[in-house]
């Protein structure tokens, strides 16, 4: 006999089957001696347990009995632990959203950096002349993806300008 049939016999004995199912079980029980034996055994066990189960009666109502147990449990938990737990519970409500927002913000920043959205920042350059005789000008060629610093001699530039000015003065 398989387990399903055993369970059906148990359910039949406990009155858990519908009328139709119960009739069906009765039909195959009539032709199955093994099933009948199991039903007898289960019935005997049920009556033995039912007849000998101690019946305890409480001196107070069920609600009052359980509320006493609850009070005892609450009294056993130290107060500071209870306070800590309630503080944690109040914070826990915000921890999830705050963590999610922080993670999304960091991922967004990371993506912006990786995907080159800070394009303008990439093109910024800091140029410093370290010699008093040299100066420089810088520009960027977008089409050639080239950043150029043109270094020139300040003294030479000045003397050329003076020469140009002198030439112009002579012409005038």
């Amino acid at each position: 006999m398989n387990q399903d049939r055993e369970l059906q016999i148990q359910a039949f004995l406990d009155g858990e089957l519908s009328g139709r199912q119960a009739r069906k079980v009765e039909q195959w029980l009539a032709g199955d001696s093994e099933a009948q034996a199991l039903l007898r055994e289960l019935r005997a066990t049920k009556s033995a347990l039912g007849g000998n189960e101690p019946q305890l009666t409480l001196p107070e109502t069920r609600e009052f009995y359980w509320s006493k147990i609850q009070r005892q449990i609450e009294a056993a938990v130290p107060e500071h632990e209870a306070a800590q737990a309630s503080l944690w519970l109040s914070w826990r409500r915000y921890l999830g959203p705050v963590t999610a927002v922080a993670a999304v913000a960091m991922l967004a920043l990371f993506s912006i950096k990786e995907m080159g959205f800070d394009e303008a920042d990439r093109h910024l350059a800091e140029i410093e002349n370290l010699s008093e005789h040299a100066s420089s000008l810088s520009f960027r060629s977008q089409s050639e993806n080239m950043f150029v610093v043109w270094v020139y001699n300040k003294d030479q530039q000045q003397s050329e300008e003076e020469a140009d000015f002198a030439d112009e003065a002579v012409i005038q």
């Binding site: 737990a85 922080a102 960091m106 800091e126 993806n145 150029v148 270094v151």
Partner: protein, 151 residues
């Protein structure tokens, strides 16, 4: 059974792990593979120095599109690896050297040194395919170019 305290510790541990991971990704530093070229630009068809060879066509085309000179000759080409957050000096000629530093950002600092004296410094991010060119006039209407690229 999961108590609030163990739940708290577990969540905190995961949050810290996530933050450390993101910080590590953000702050990751890489070595720079730098190519530095000293190039001489002229309108003459040939360089007076036989050891100078014309630069490769893509570089020459780039320079021609930006500068006025017709021909560009390679004086020296150096490939170096600049370790993260450190500096490498590249000697390009007797008078000319560049000092390259890898900086956070990631950015590079390029310092031009002429005759053992610092001339200028520039700091900028250098993406792959981008050229950082430091240039200046030379004798007889010619010019020199220091082209720095990241490989």
């Amino acid at each position: 059974m999961t108590t609030p305290r163990s739940l708290h510790t577990g969540l905190l541990r995961w949050c810290l792990l996530l933050l450390f991971w993101l910080a590590a990704v953000e702050l990751r530093a890489e070595d720079l593979n730098i190519e530095a070229q000293l190039i001489w630009g002229t309108n003459a068809e040939k360089s007076p120095d036989a050891s100078h060879k014309p630069v490769d066509k893509p570089t020459a085309d780039k320079l021609k599109n930006v500068f006025k000179w017709k021909n560009y000759f390679l004086v020296k080409n150096v490939n170096v690896v600049v370790p993260s957050r450190s500096t490498k000096q590249i000697q390009l000629s007797k008078q000319c050297a560049v000092e390259i530093t890898e900086l956070p950002g990631p950015k590079v600092e390029v310092k031009l040194i002429g005759d053992h004296n610092p001339v200028m410094r520039g700091v900028k991010s250098l993406s792959k395919g981008e050229s950082f060119v430091i240039a200046g006039d030379d004798k007889n209407e010619t010019a020199w170019f220091v082209v720095i690229k990241q490989n």
